[in-house]
């Protein structure tokens, strides 16, 4: 057993940290206040190589291993990049691009991946529906085969990048009589007649990511837009869970490190009762808890990444443990960080309130904490 990283991995993490601090972080608060997606930052992430970091170079990626990819995500959070942009990056790179890479034909890969890797195109993934969230297999969006086309009807809900995406990986029932085994995956491009996105939802947190419905009304797509095989869609969606529990959780790890630094700086500078509040044990207690949470979460995420690099099948129990722990425990420490800042913690002047709001998604998105408990109690 060895928890060390290679020199190259650590150097790359530092590069990402420097890049993010210079190119993204200075505009984060402004974009959050405006609930605006930072297109320029996203393109810069593409130029830097982050958007296709784990994809093969043939398709415009960097061919990085999973642990390196996780460290890059951690560096984004550690630099102070907001949860909205990292979520947009996650949905784009892992839920959309990775599925296209794994299950797309050579033509599909060549058409989409190079553009997704540079950020010229933005990708999204539509699985959830208004009446099928935790119980996704109850989805009602249908894809009916007519000759060399599929006709899609239905509505997807909560789709990250939905309003700004150029290409969507969409899950729909090709056999409505079945639950999981009736689901297939498709790729749908923006501008396809019958396909539209709803208006962006106004959200509590992750505001710089744009979220909306995807609406399909007699939307005809070529049969060649089927990804992989009919009936295997649920399987493909579940394969993204590995990314969900590693690369998508990684920015949370980083943002806890960032949060600890912010809180420590504030505690040293803010004077009450004639001394910096950091002298009070109750403040130290909060700092300690932030540190402990960050350290405890770390190995859970690295482990999933390392196992994926070893080619091991995902251990669903361990994946749910990571998601459940980070989802539930992150709330207490981000909440404490706001309290530690007192009144200013409640204002937009300091970014701890944004981190608190962004983190509130952790026990909901990608499978709620209750669903993780359901999985764990079934598998244990």
């Amino acid at each position: 057993m060895d928890f060390g990283f290679t020199k190259e991995q650590l150097m790359f993490k530092q590069e990402v940290l420097r890049f993010a601090k210079k190119e993204i972080v200075p505009r984060v608060q402004e974009h959050d206040l405006a609930s605006a997606f930072d297109f320029a930052a996203f393109r810069k992430m593409g130029e830097f190589g982050l958007l296709g970091l784990h994809l093969p170079e043939t398709y415009g990626g960097q061919g990085a291993d999973v642990v390196t990819t996780v460290l890059a995500g951690e560096a984004l959070g550690e630099a102070g990049v907001d949860g909205g942009l990292t979520l947009a990056y996650g949905a784009h790179s892992f839920l959309c691009a990775d599925t296209l890479f794994r299950h797309g034909t050579e033509d599909q890969r060549r058409r989409y991946l190079p553009r997704l890797c540079t950020g010229e195109w933005i990708g999204c993934m539509g699985l959830s529906e208004p009446d099928a969230g935790s119980d996704v297999a109850a989805m009602s969006t249908e894809a009916v085969r007519h000759g060399d086309r599929y006709i899609l009807n239905g509505t997807k809900m909560w789709i990250t990048n939905g309003p700004i995406a150029d290409v969507a990986v969409v899950y729909a029932k090709t056999d409505p009589g079945q639950k999981h085994a009736g689901i297939s995956a498709f790729v749908v491009e923006k501008g396809t007649p019958g396909f539209s996105a709803g208006p962006p939802l106004i959200k509590m947190g992750v505001r710089t990511s744009k979220t909306s419905e995807l609406i399909f009304k007699d939307c005809a797509i070529p049969a060649a837009n089927l990804l992989g095989r009919e009936g295997e869609g649920f399987l493909y969606a579940m394969q993204t869970v590995e990314w969900d529990r590693s690369a998508l959780l990684a920015p949370f790890l980083g943002s806890i490190t960032y949060l600890l630094k912010r809180c420590a700086e504030y505690a040293k500078g803010r004077v009450q009762f004639g001394r910096p509040i950091g002298h009070f044990q109750a403040i130290k207690h909060k700092l300690a808890d932030i540190r402990i949470f960050g350290e405890a979460a770390r190995a859970l995420v690295y482990r999933i990444a390392w196992c994926k690099d070893q080619g091991r099948p995902l251990n669903h129990l361990e994946a749910s443990v990571a998601k459940l722990f980070i989802g539930d425990w992150s709330l207490a420490v981000t909440n404490d960080a706001v309290t530690l800042h007192g009144g200013v913690g409640f204002t937009h002047e300091f970014d701890v309130e944004r981190i608190f709001r962004d983190t509130r998604l952790a026990p909901i998105g990608g499978g709620t904490s209750e669903i993780q408990k359901m999985i764990i109690s079934k598998l244990m």
């Binding site: 060895d2 044990q281 909060k286 700092l287 540190r291 405890a296 129990l317 244990m380």
Partner: protein, 378 residues
């Protein structure tokens, strides 16, 4: 990076579990009186010595088994089988033993560590005093040179193994310099109080010490480079033991609760089928696994990243010991009347769990330290 223990270590862990379970059944330490507890400890040590367990970190064994990470894995196994035997063994082997190993002379190491590794010697460490927490007060125990002898005066409280130990390392100072006095159990001037009855670890022999003109030969003194290092070192090793103890307690309680929830039926279904029970188990397992990985990472850091090791170990100690109390409490809830019976593994683990937060670096002091470190004040 590698998240697996080697095959050799896994086999060794399996052998330890087998021995640990045997010993738990055989010794019944949790119910033992003073005499039975003392002889049970000796029997346990003999069996563990044969497995090489007592050599780790004190007397070199083969490389694979000697690391702190391997030790954490091994201690976790033992702690989950037989809590009292585990604690008594570790204060002797890993706290007393490592102190002698780190700071003792070559002659002292040979004299004390060889029999310790063979399981024929029991050690103890006496650190805490009246206002026991050494964070707040300097140690009052003092030695003085008198001719060719050294005499010690002092009082120590709650010393694990004191009634059964062959030798007790008493922390104090010798004419202003930090020192560990190796006091044989039979030394004149040493009085050991009657056994203290504690809430948990009922099979561990704990007592207070009084040292009055207790005379020692000069070679019974370990001169320690500085007081802060000595205290940090002793606490660090103790903290590692307590982290492993917490992991063991959680495993005992979780296994018992899970097995019960799968087999005990209520309303026509196994109780795990009720979310109130199943979800509780999921939370327990999550705490256990998270604590486990944090403990392994802290143990790894002890060798690979020493700068981080102290604070990572404090993180692991706070998290694991608090998690243990929660997990054991939830286990008792799930086990209901079954678990509430005296001697049930979950009940034994629950009573032991609180100790981990009090002893070593207490949870409060550990948090203060971590807070100071975050602000660059340590």
């Amino acid at each position: 990076m590698n998240f697996d223990f080697s095959e050799t270590l896994k086999q060794w862990f399996a052998a330890l579990v087998e021995a640990g379970k045997d010993l738990a059944g055989l010794l019944e330490l949790e119910e033992a009186d003073e005499k039975a507890a003392a002889s049970g400890l000796r029997q346990g040590l003999a069996r563990l010595a044969a497995l090489g367990y007592l050599r780790v970190q004190t007397r070199q064994t083969d490389g694979d088994k000697n690391g702190v990470l391997a030790l954490m894995g091994a201690m976790e196994q033992m702690a989950g089988c037989c809590p009292s035997l585990f604690l008594a063994t570790e204060y002797s082997t890993r706290v007393f033993g490592r102190a002698v190993s780190a700071w003792g002379s070559a002659a002292q190491r040979t004299r004390w560590l060889d029999p310790l590794a063979e399981g024929v010697l029991v050690g103890a460490v006496a650190l805490s005093e009246g206002a026991m927490n050494v964070e707040n007060e300097p140690l009052a125990t003092r030695g003085q040179r008198r001719g060719d002898k050294i005499t010690i005066e002092g009082r120590k409280q709650s010393v694990v193994n004191a009634p059964a130990a062959d030798v007790i390392a008493v922390a104090g100072s010798l004419e202003g310099e930090p020192a560990l006095f190796l006091v044989p159990r039979a030394a004149a001037g040493l009085t050991v109080s009657p056994r203290r009855v504690t809430m948990g670890y009922a099979g561990v022999l704990i007592a207070d010490l009084t040292l009055e003109a207790c005379a020692l030969a000069p070679d019974a003194v370990i001169a320690v480079p500085d007081m802060a290092r000595m205290l940090d070192g002793l606490r660090f090793w103790e903290n590692q033991v307590l982290v492993a103890a917490a992991l063991g307690q959680m495993r005992m309680a979780l296994d018992a609760a899970r097995d019960h929830a799968k087999t005990h039926r209520s309303g026509g279904r196994p109780i795990i089928a009720y979310q109130e029970v199943g979800f509780k188990l999921a939370e327990m397992l999550t705490l256990h696994q998270t604590a486990q990985w944090l403990a392994y990472r802290a143990a790894w850091a002890a060798e690979a990243a020493p700068k981080e090791a102290q604070s990572l170990t404090l993180c692991a100690k706070i998290f694991a010991t608090e998690a243990a109390e929660r997990v054991c409490g939830s286990a008792l809830q799930i086990l209901s009347s079954t678990g509430y019976l005296k001697g049930h593994p979950a009940e034994v683990a629950y009573r032991a769990a609180k100790y981990g937060q009090i002893a070593g670096t207490s949870t409060e002091i550990a948090r203060v330290r971590l807070g100071d470190e975050a602000m660059g004040w340590r």
